[in-house]
């Protein structure tokens, strides 16, 4: 039997497992994650009020229930087992570990309290295990012109009732209401025509109940500009928050003594300056980190592959990572057609990782999250690793 280990049970790892299970029905696949729970950025990156996007999880559940795919959660590569161990025990190892670090602006004042990267904010709002809830003030500047910036501003701008059906923790909602956000400025370096917003996500902003939308400098043509112009008229009666979009401004420095007080921008082409007083700066300019030295099909070395953001860098949404995972899986299937398969595979993991959380353990966590769910929420996430592990290890017969 061929044994394949995939490190990282996020969307790329799961799509790779799905494609491999189809291409190699006799293979035994082990999905490893450092968290006790699977699904990575589907659970912790996709916004809590975008439950429809999270529906792909239903595909991945089938891997564990219908295919010979096992989950080994709470296992950190490099600490609980080495890559060498894994390559010795499995015919193929796929690294789908993603990228986690917020890209830095590289300007003065970036380390002042009140400047927070989108990854940190998103993990806090998504109840990533042991992540802290971000401290937000009434005036927020968001630097970035992509969908992550839109997710951040939408959550900041929503009224409590607009989180119905989400899995946004009630405590996070209460903290946001206490923050009393009144103004959000979203600033991009390039012109509006180059902004990476998804038009459909901009149009979604046109339904915000308590935020007025103001777009500055969106001239030209294209779907993004059309969407920006369409929402520029959104002025709900009694709006308590103002959202302003600005284009073509390069951040120069972040001012403040003990904490953030303002951001200064200069015009990206030509003369001019923009000075935005604020008490919170959220950066949403992408993610950073080491990527794989892999060939075009994701092969790093014999029996070792990379997929997803770890292979290609932090670009592309769920469908693009699915396509990538399918391509890498096709390459692995072709390579393994000639390989001998005599490695111990799953038995080695089961013996060597007594602290691992299996799919049954995740099911217990999942059941607890659904059972504790308030009526206006889709789920109530367990927010600490310790509590997850306690739940995962409860025996069924208790």
């Amino acid at each position: 039997m061929t044994s394949i280990a995939i490190v990282g049970a996020g969307p790329s790892g799961c799509y790779t497992a799905q494609a491999l299970a189809k291409a190699l029905p006799d293979a035994r696949i082990d999905l490893i994650d450092r968290l006790p729970v699977p699904y990575g950025l589907i659970r912790y990156g996709v916004a809590p009020d975008h439950q429809g996007t999270k529906a792909v999880i239903r595909q991945f559940e089938r891997l564990f229930t219908r295919n010979d795919v096992a989950f080994f959660g709470n296992v950190t590569l490099g600490a609980d087992l080495t890559l060498e161990d894994l390559r010795a025990s499995h015919e193929a190892v796929v690294l789908a570990t993603g990228l986690h670090t917020d890209r830095r602006l590289g300007i003065a004042g970036e380390d002042l309290p009140g400047v927070i990267g989108s990854g940190v904010v998103t993990r806090g709002w998504n109840d990533y295990p042991d992540a802290e809830r971000p401290q937000i003030g009434p005036r927020v500047v968001i630097v970035g012109n992509g969908n992550v910036a839109v997710d951040l501003l939408r959550i900041l701008a929503k009224a409590p009732a607009e989180f119905d059906g989400s899995d946004f923790a009630p405590e996070s909602g209460a903290a946001l209401m206490a923050a009393g956000v009144t103004r959000i400025d979203v600033v991009g370096r390039s012109g509006a025509g180059m902004a990476k917003f998804d038009p459909v996500m901009l149009r979604e902003l046109g339904r915000l109940a308590q935020a007025s939308l103001h777009v500055h400098g969106a001239t030209g043509e294209g779907k993004v500009i059309e969407a920006l112009q369409a929402i520029d008229v959104h002025r709900p009666e009694g709006a308590t928050r103002e959202v302003h979009f600005h284009f073509g401004w390069t951040p120069e420095d972040i001012e403040g003594r003990a904490c953030v007080e303002a951001v200064r921008f200069r015009a990206s082409n030509g003369e001019g300056a923009l000075h935005l007083p604020c008490d919170t700066v959220l950066t949403a300019i992408g993610f950073d980190g080491e990527t794989a030295q892999a060939d075009g099909d994701g092969r790093i070395a014999e029996g070792l592959y990379a997929t997803g953001w770890y292979r290609r860098g932090p670009r592309g949404t769920i469908p693009e990572n699915r396509a990538d995972a399918q391509a890498v899986a096709a390459r692995i299937a072709a390579d393994l057609a000639q390989a001998t398969s005599d490695k111990p595979g799953r038995a080695a993991l089961t013996a060597g990782l007594p602290e691992a959380v299996g799919y049954d353990g995740w099911r217990r966590i999942d059941a607890a999250e659904c059972a504790a769910c308030p009526p206006d929420r889709a789920r109530r996430k367990i927010a600490t690793r310790a509590e997850m592990l306690t739940l995962a290890r409860q025996s069924e017969d208790r």
Binding site: Q51, G52, P319
Partner: protein, 148 residues
């Protein structure tokens, strides 16, 4: 009558539903084909087509339905005598473009002369129903009406 399930997918959800419908109809031994692998010249009047498609982006067809749409435009086939039903998948978080994928495929096929059987049904990813819970009774109802 032969049943052929055609699906257009972007994230795999419509593909999974197509496979579930196929399993549900196993006694009819339906064929299942990704729309990206289907040529309009292969439509056959002796077959009933179940079209399953999502919607993506700003109300566009999902990636795997786009090559089919291009072939439909370039070949402009005459599909009179072809009968089909459409099951769409959408997300009501985006109401302006909800289920445009299913709507577009329906219009494309009826525009070429094919006959829509029954009403187009849409699953909402942000709703509480599972797609299967809506789609399998829909398929059963079509079969009870004697489409195939």
């Amino acid at each position: 009558m032969q049943i052929h399930i055609l699906y257009g997918t972007e994230t795999g959800n419509a593909e999974m539903l197509a496979e579930d419908i196929s399993d549900h109809l196993s006694e009819h031994a339906p064929e299942v084909t990704n729309l990206e692998d289907f040529d309009p010249a292969d439509f056959d009047t002796g077959t009933f087509y179940l079209v399953v498609t999502s919607t993506y982006g700003d109300g566009e067809l999902p990636a795997s339905a786009q090559p089919f749409a291009e072939k439909m435009a370039s070949q402009a086939p005459d599909l009179s005598g072809i009968r089909f039903a459409v099951f769409g998948m959408g997300d009501s978080e985006y109401p302006e473009t909800f289920n445009f994928g299913g709507k577009r495929l329906e219009e494309m096929l009826t525009g070429a002369g094919a006959e829509l059987v029954g009403e187009r049904v849409t699953h909402d990813a942000s709703g509480s129903d599972m797609a299967d819970d809506l789609a399998l009774p829909w398929v059963d109802a079509l079969l009870a009406e004697g489409v195939a």
